[in-house]
Amino acid sequence: MTKTKKMVLLSFFAAGAIVLSIIESMFPVPLPIYGVKLGLANIITIVLLYFFGIREALMVVCIRVFLSTLYGGGFVVFLFSITGGILSTLVMGFLMKVFFDRLSLSSVSVVGSIMHNLGQLLVAGVVMKDFAVLGYLPVLMISGVIMGVFIGIISNFLISSLKRINVFTIKP
């Protein structure tokens, strides 16, 4: 596709990701660590990984994190979001590239959600100079699984719909 078309499409996705970020901060988080996010924007990441690749997905993640931090949050929230976002994007991208035919989207997104949460915990540990926060790992993993399955289903739905509209050139 042309560069312009790609830029426009990515902008749409970025906007969508930002909206998702804002919506998810309205939900209660299962954790007593403030600043941790659910990771709904992973839906966009998975769609982008499917239709484009890691580079584009990372670009949108960065844009999303920067802009949504402007909306609400501080430096700490920014750190959490960017670490969780980049880590989960890289891992999901890797999984999708290498194991595409052997994994369902739900698995990928479960791993993505877990990586997202893990990234946030690691940042929290560094920031507080104390890795006692890793005590929240079990809770985070469980919520990662739940969110992951949910996100996987939605991503699947989104990808199917987008293909039907024929906006993209499909990647093998």
Partner: protein, 129 residues
């Protein structure tokens, strides 16, 4: 259509399950390690211990005010502790809520104050540093 169960899913699923079990076990062990003689809340400012309180021995609730670049009010009750009030911009510390288990911690980064529940150290009277 892309979400059908495939071979790899079982692998991922079992690995994740294993990780969950391990992390649970790990945390349980960590929490019980420090248990020893009770629940000691350690309050640090600028990384230096300024107060330690045995939460289990606390009979009535207590308030501690800490002044630094910002101001924190810490509330202590029998068996638990929390940041009650703060005037820092993000209020992360207050939103963390009650700490009542070994290993839990809450931090007010702007004021450089941290509260953590640690196991006691078999009766050290003080530390030279």
């Amino acid at each position: 259509m892309f979400n059908k169960m495939k071979k790899g899913d079982l692998v991922v699923g079992s690995i994740v399950l294993l990780l969950i079990i391990i992390s649970f076990a790990g945390v349980k062990i960590y929490n019980s390690l420090g248990s020893g003689n009770g629940k000691i809340a350690v309050i640090r400012q600028n990384n230096i211990i300024i107060k330690t309180i045995d939460l289990d021995k606390l009979k009535e609730s207590q308030e501690i005010k800490i002044d630094g670049d910002f101001h924190n009010t810490i509330l202590l009750e029998n068996g638990r502790i929390r940041f009650e009030d703060a005037d820092c911009p993000d209020l992360v510390c207050v939103k963390t809520g009650w700490l009542d288990k070994n290993g839990q911690m809450a931090v007010c980064l702007p004021n450089k104050v941290s509260v953590k529940i640690e196991g006691s150290d078999e009766g050290l009277d003080g530390v030279a540093f």
